[in-house]
Subunit: 238 residues, 2 copies
């Protein structure tokens, strides 16, 4: 569904993020769920810094995006928003069978509480704290924690298309998490995980969501951020 | 409800963990939810190492506890299990009003995906990797990330008893997460968060769950673990 200024659903994202965050800010997860569910939405894109200002804090106590508003429902936390969209609109994101539904929800938590934390840790070590003296020596331990989780996930996925039966909210969130380390080659030892991510990214709903997510970055970096970004880019391994 | 060998619900935990993990292994979260919902259960307690063996891996792909089994439902991820118990048995863990229910679920994700990751990071730095040369110099950055989240949470909680209306699954998981750093003094700057945790811990359901969780540690440490635990204890700040 297109972005539609008359939609009753409003989400928030950013109008600018550094190059490495484009395609990964969590509004993408919510856009993807809305596309799977066939729902149009409005996207309110914040300038960097505005996420910490009082109006947005009232919606999101941690000063992050995305948020979700529809009528009397105001939510934050992309995992919760994806589940809400799944329950509110269907769209095949949660199975009807109660046991299968519980397992799909289980995979949303596995994505966000078991697989994502070491991946976030990796992003901190390789991006935000890349210049700290402790980051490089610590990186092997961080990568080992990610590899342990990826191997376990690879073993469970096996040759299935999706984690448990049909594509679900659990796959959506797991693929969104795995994508974060795909370009760094961390999925290379697990061809079934790389293929799983590719299957997710090939879904028309994902492609629409990603295109609209990327098209939203029309803002300028705040003062000083362009220099910081250039420095980050220069520090990347070739 | 007492532990009952005739209960249709079986959960898993450990029969031994190091001193610092007692009172914090995630089966406690599930026991607490079952107690709030008035459900008896059986607890199958694994010896250390058995969580990585094939029989348990079949239930839990990441080789962790807890798991939850009832009839044709088999689940892992404590967050998902708590939500399942809330939906299956009620017990006041999720409000009936749809918007309030979505917000309670939102707080379960906030606990596990926003507040817990830096706290897990702190546990790794101060316990499992305490002897690594990078842990001590990095600790101020880890603590700063936790403090940012705690301040934001403290500001949102304000003088409320619970995060959003009555006690919910969101409070249960948030309090379980915050408890992990309470004994290290990290909640001290936030008296309302300390009081919030104390309110949760004073609930009869929590007290029963904690007592049964602690009573389950009747096993012996695996070879080498007692020495490791003694070394960890000796390395703790006075």
């Amino acid at each position: 569904m297109p972005i539609d200024s008359a939609s009753p659903i409003t989400i928030t994202g950013y109008d600018w993020v550094p190059y490495f965050a484009k395609g990964h800010v969590r509004d993408l997860r919510v856009r993807w769920a809305l596309e799977e569910a066939g729902q149009s939405y409005r996207a309110k894109l914040l300038a960097q810094g505005d996420q910490k200002a009082p109006p947005h804090r009232a919606l999101q106590p941690f000063g992050q995006v995305p948020t979700y508003e529809e009528g009397d429902v105001t939510l934050f936390e992309s995992g919760a928003i994806v589940l809400h969209i799944a329950e509110r609109f269907g769209g095949g994101l949660l199975p009807a069978d109660p046991a299968a539904r519980a397992r799909a929800i289980e995979w949303t938590f596995a994505a966000l509480n078991t697989v994502e934390p070491p991946i976030t840790d990796y992003a901190i070590a390789t991006l935000f704290e890349v210049e700290e003296p402790w980051s490089a020596p610590r990186l092997p331990a961080v990568k080992a924690r990610i590899a342990e989780r990826l191997e376990e996930l690879s073993n469970r996925l096996g040759d299935r298309d999706w984690l448990d039966g049909d594509f679900s909210a659990g796959d959506l969130l797991m693929i969104a998490v795995l994508r974060m380390v795909a370009s760094d080659g961390l999925l290379n030892p697990y061809p079934n995980l790389a293929a799983y991510v590719a299957r997710g990214e090939a879904r028309p709903a994902f492609r629409r969501a990603l295109a609209d997510h990327m098209a939203g970055f029309t803002g300028d970096p705040p003062p000083g951020f362009a220099e910081w970004e250039a420095k980050m880019k220069a520090a990347e391994p070739a």
